[in-house]
Each structure stands twice: as C-alpha cells, then as structure tokens.
C-alpha cells in the first residue's frame, strides 16, 4: 500500500495536467514501513526527454542526487516516483518496467485525458534483482485531515 495526503495526491495529478500533452515526473519522499510506503512530500522533477516528452520521461541523476540530499535533511527517504500518461492508460508500460530499478518503491501513474487527470494507480516494484523484479498492483490510501480513504482501484 502507498499512503499519501490528499494535497500530495492532488499535487501530482495537477502536475500531469500542467505538463499535458507531455509526461510529468516527480519523486515521492517519505518512509517505508511494514504496511507500505508512506509519502510525506512530493517533489516535482524536470522531464529531460524533450525529444519525446509526450510518451517518455527521464529524471536527470543530478536532480535525483539533489532530491536525495533534500530528503536526508528532512529525515525522509525516496520511497517512489510518479509520472503521467497523456491520453494513455494508468497502467505500467513495458518501457516503465524495463526502466524501473528502485525495488521496494512505489510507481504512481496518472492517466491524463485531454489535459484532465482522470485515473491514478500505483504499482510496487518487488523482487530481489533485475531478473526477478515485477510490478504489483498497489492500493492507494489517501489521508484527508486525519481521515484515511482507501481508493478503489481505478480500472481502465
């Protein structure tokens, strides 16, 4: 399970709307616990794939280093990433899978149709290495002023 505040949930969806028709991307900072990744902050990142930003994203390692330093100062870890799929399903693609290397992290994907965020799903990258890694559907729990709402999985 990935747990995040309603404001963070809104922020990552709004990011996808702002960058439409290009993909947005960002980092989830928080804590990994026995019951999942608890997000405490989202950090926007630039998409360096300006050659194909409508269907590709990449976060520059330099930016990841900076965000990791920021996380350490806050006592947090990188617990996941988010990106958008403009006019495409909120499901992981083969490219997403091939390029996923942060085992134990949550990968949140938002479908943005015609500039409007419609569906947000999360996938947990599990396994022990590149050979046996896999994405698992992951419930999203949204906290609203102390109230926890378990989002029903959005289906395409």
């Amino acid at each position: 399970m990935v747990k995040l505040s309603f404001s963070d949930y809104q922020a990552l969806r709004a990011h996808g709307e702002e960058t439409y028709p290009h993909e947005c991307c960002g980092v989830l900072l928080g804590l990994a616990t026995t019951d999942g990744n608890h997000v405490r902050s989202t950090v926007r990142a630039g998409n360096t794939r300006i050659d194909s930003a409508h269907n590709r994203y990449n976060i520059a390692p330099e930016e990841l280093i900076r965000i990791q330093r920021q996380a350490r100062k806050l006592g947090l870890d990188i617990v996941g990433f988010y990106h958008s799929h403009p006019d495409c399903p909120a499901e992981w693609s083969q490219t997403d899978f091939n390029e996923a290397h942060w085992i134990g992290c949550s990968y949140i994907i938002t479908r943005v149709d015609q500039g409007k965020a419609v569906i947000t799903n999360s996938f947990l990258l599990t396994g022990t290495d590149e050979e046996d890694k896999k994405f698992l559907d992951e419930p999203v729990e949204i906290e609203v002023s102390g109230i926890e709402i378990k989002q029903e999985r959005d289906q395409e």
Binding site: P61, W102, G104
Partner: protein, 96 residues
C-alpha cells in the same frame, strides 16, 4: 569517504543509508564497499564486471563517467560518492 546508498540497495548494507569506506580513489572506495557488503556487487556490476548501465555514480556533484580519470579519480575523506539508479519510463499506449 562516505558512500550514499539508495533505498533499494540498503537491504544489502544492513539498512545503512551511508557507509564509510577507505580508499585513495573512487575505484578503491567501490572495491572496499563490495568487500564490506559482498551482496551489493551483483546489483552494481554485471557478470563480467562492468557497472550496470542503469547505475549512476556521482562523486559529489560529478558523474564519474565524465571525470577525466573516471574510477581512478583521487578522493578525499570529505568527499561523498552517491550510488543512484536511473529513473525513466513512459507510455506508448502499449501498456502491460
């Protein structure tokens, strides 16, 4: 020198976010790291000893691939080496 370990690799450093290793060069420090934590080796290097393509190594703010001396670059105790796997992807409407 200090080496920063990313979240997915901390399972192989006993949960440590940062580890201190001896070494006069980046290569020495990496060798010391994989001696201290042998399970890390297969996650950093391919079977023939090459750094995995998705693993980035930064000495402070510099990608070691672009340093003139690469892994032979001298380091000081105050330097930081960060291991940072790449993050990328995207949809071509060919999901799953």
């Amino acid at each position: 020198m200090k080496i920063n370990i990313p979240t997915p690799l901390r399972a192989y450093t006993g949960g440590e976010q940062t580890v201190n290793v001896p070494g006069a060069t980046v290569g020495d420090a990496l060798a010391a790291l994989t001696v201290a934590y042998p399970e890390l080796r297969q996650h950093l290097y391919t079977g023939d000893g090459k750094l995995r393509s998705f693993v980035n190594l930064y000495l402070n703010d510099d990608d070691i691939r672009y340093l003139p001396q690469k892994e032979a670059t001298p380091v000081e105790d105050s330097d930081e080496l960060s291991v940072i796997p790449s993050i990328a992807g995207g949809c071509r409407c060919c999901c799953r």
